[in-house]
Every structure is written in C-alpha cells, then in structure tokens.
Symmetry: C2
Subunit: 257 residues, 2 copies
C-alpha cells in the first residue's frame, strides 16, 4: 500500500512540513521504499518531482523538502509497490492533459481483475493505478469532449471511482490545479488549518512547527493524507465511499456512495 | 528566441557539463531570462524539471546542475519569451502521452498566423510552441491511431515540421525517450563525442572538463544545441530544412527538405 498527501489552500502555501513527515515514511518510519512523487501547481503549470528511490534517500526529495515551493494545490505520493515494478514510470502522481489543463492523480490501494479496454489515454508504466487514471480520463472525455465546470464533472468522477472501488481498494486524489477531488474506500483523513493557528508536531520525525508564525489570519489550508501526519491535532477520518471536492482549502461539495 | 539543448547517448550519461553552459545563458551570458526546463528520460519514465525563473537564479536549476542524473535521452530549453507570458505553463519542454509513451518537445523560433484547429491535444499555456507540439501530435495520432516504429513516423514528423516552417522559424527537438528527432530551419549544431575522448572548455563559463576521466571507450554521446557550447571542439552546423533522427548517440536517419 502507498500513502497519499494532498493540499488545497486559498493562498500559495509551502508543504515543507507535511512532506518532511511523509518522506520519513518513505523508507525510514514506514515501508514505502519504492519511489515517491509530488506535483505542485503554479498557475496552470506544474512542477512534477519524482524518483524511484526511497523518499528518505532521494536527492530530489531533499531539494523538495528544503525548497519552499508555494502552491494552491499539491498532490504527493509515496509508493510501496504491489502491482508493477519499481521504476520511474510507475511512480505517482501521474499527469495527463485534458481540455488544456494538466490533470494529476495519485492512488492508494490495489485493483483486481482490472483490464479496461485501452482507448484514448494509455498507461506508460504497468500499474493498476495509472490504468485506472487513464480509464477515468477516457470516461470524462467521452462524456464531455469539451471542457465543462467541475460541478458538471463531479457525478462522472464519483461514478468512475465507485466503479473502480468494486475492483478493490481505491483511495485517490485528483486535481486539475484549481480543484482537488478525494475519494476514500478505506483510509483517508484531512485537517483544515485556519486562524487561530497553533503549533503542531509531526508523528514521524522530531519536527515541530508554529503555524502562527507562517500564516496570515485569512489563510485556509487543508491537508489530506492516508493517515494523520501530526500527533497533536484533530484530523477528520473519511468513511468508505466518501468523496470531497476542495477548492481554496474549503470543501465545496461532498457526498458518499 | 530561445536556446535548445538535446542529448542522445548509448550509455546513461549525465548532462551536468552542458547544462552549466546553457544555464549561464539563462540570464548571465545570454538574454534567456524567461524560464528554463529539462526532461531526462529514465526508462519510460521522465524527470521533468522546469522553472519560470532565469536558469542562472533558479533553485531547481542549481539542483539539476549539481545532481548528475544519468539518462540516454535529454531535452532542455532556456526561454526568451516572444509569444506568451512568463510563467511555468509556458516553459519548455512540453510533455504529452501518445501511444503509452511520454513525448517531449522544445522549440526555438516563432510562428506567424498560426492558429490550427484544436483537436485532441490542447495547449495548457499560450505559446505558439506548445500549439505546434499539440498540432504535431494530432497529426501523428490521426495518421497512426496505434503506435508504430519511428521509421514509419518519420515522414509524418518531417512533413509536420516542414509545414510549421512555412509559418516562421522552427528549430525543434522531439523525443519519445528512445529516439531524438531534430529539425533545423535557422540554427542548430551538434557534436558527437566518442573515443578517444579529450578535454573541452565551456564557452559561457570558466568550466573545463576531461571527458576521458568520465567515460568508457565504447561511449557515444551526442549533444545538440542552438549554438556550440564549447570553444575548443568542432561542432557540425545544421542547414535550413535539415532533420536528424538520433538513437543511442548515433544518427540513424537524416535528410533535408
């Protein structure tokens, strides 16, 4: 199994603190030694850092943890391979262009007997995760050949995820850079930090932060992760079939299937 | 105008030396202050580093210059914006998936009155370069809905580039990770380094290298650049309409239109 990390914020925010926690699980406090990746949106552009090395050992990971890239929307992932070999092409997040936007996707779980007919988007690697992402994009594209607002897409996204869920475990994060969509079948949690900001302590490293010193009173920053990353804050655990649509750190739509 | 940098090699090779030269032109010895990017293939996967900051100032560029990522195929670019604003979405190389491979593309030049009908691939930013890349992929996809060997693609690639050339200046590099295709309308040069390897001196920085110390006797490494990067080696200058297909550092096909 893998671990997911997502961020949605109303101001460009760096993810250094949460990444430090996540990367420790990539080979040090956790078993996720099989690569990692982070996609930071900057406007419509995307910084995509990935490595097939464990997060705890990767040179690129050191840069990403030390360099405060500020973003509204981030998707990260550390991998513990179950389907597909350990190589760069199999690391999440996966990215494809749809309707003139970069869509990024990361998955935690495993699908059984899942062999959709290859249509427009084709996996480059050999994971069930990338195959699911391509299938999801194919479904969206087939239904909406031209770009539509995310409110119109939502039933399609939920429906696709609900279909994948029937094949196994499907916790995922998906984004086009503005909105962030999450779907939970077994394990996902979030915390929304807003004023008054307080301190927090990472679970996986001796790292402490005082968000008050890092934020302004109007900041709203939501972190979504497979498991809570801090030990002294209250995280909301998602239920099986629960989905959320985040925008600027806030939930703009949610439901359960 | 921008500057291109490509590498094709028969062994995984790092590009640190050439990148040091190129990045200097990104704001120090050259006017290309409007972003930069490098795509390093690793198997079928891709490391894509980009920044809208000048190469000479970018934190990510410092990592890339200091961290010897070894690759068979690399495409790099520094940007001097003429069409499209300065932002991450407008930095080259651009990447799209086609037939289960990541295709990457960088362009030097400018196209006039170029407004192809958007079909399958859509630009995310607003450059003529990305629009041309999308149009090229659309043409390939329309002609070959299923993947074919590059020998079959070649006439299509040359024909597309020859079409773009009628709209302005179109020097480009294109790759699917195995092969590297170059097309010259005004300015492009290459050097193929093989045994006996000698020393070289960068034009743009006080940097000297002895390739003998870095290579084995069977290595073949071709560097392609808008202008020669070293001052003491003989580079081959490409002619208008000349195209090359490189594989493992060698020319496997070439021609002129």
């Amino acid at each position: 199994m893998c671990e997911l990390l997502g961020m949605s914020a109303n101001v460009p925010t760096d993810l250094v603190f949460s990444l430090q926690g996540l990367m420790q699980r990539g080979g040090r406090t956790g078993p996720h030694r099989d690569g990692w990746g982070v996609a930071f949106y900057e406007g419509r552009g995307l910084h995509l850092f990935k490595d097939a090395l464990p997060g705890a050992d990767s040179e690129v990971a050191k840069l990403v943890q030390g360099y405060p890239i500020k973003s509204h929307t981030v998707i990260g992932h550390i991998r513990h391979a179950n389907v597909g070999s350990v190589n760069l092409a199999n690391t999440h997040p996966f990215v494809r262009e749809l309707g003139g936007r970069y869509w990024s996707f990361a998955h935690n779980g495993q699908l059984q007997d899942f062999h959709p007919e290859p249509r427009f988007y084709r996996p480059v690697g050999d994971t069930d995760s990338e195959t699911a992402f391509c299938s999801l994009l194919d479904q969206v594209r087939e239904r909406f050949p031209e770009p539509v607002p995310v409110e119109m897409l939502l039933p399609q996204l939920v429906n696709a995820c609900d279909g994948f869920r029937k094949k196994g475990v499907f916790n995922c994060l998906l984004s086009d850079g503005d909105w962030l969509f999450s779907f939970c079948t077994t394990k996902l949690a979030h915390i929304t930090r807003r004023a008054p900001f307080g301190p927090a302590q990472l679970r996986d490293a001796e790292v402490h932060i005082d968000f008050k010193a890092e934020t302004t009173p109007n900041d709203v920053v939501t972190i979504i992760a497979t498991e809570p990353l801090t030990s002294d804050e209250v995280w909301t655990l998602h239920q099986p079939g629960e989905w959320h649509l985040w925008w600027d750190g806030e939930i703009v739509s949610q439901g359960r299937v």
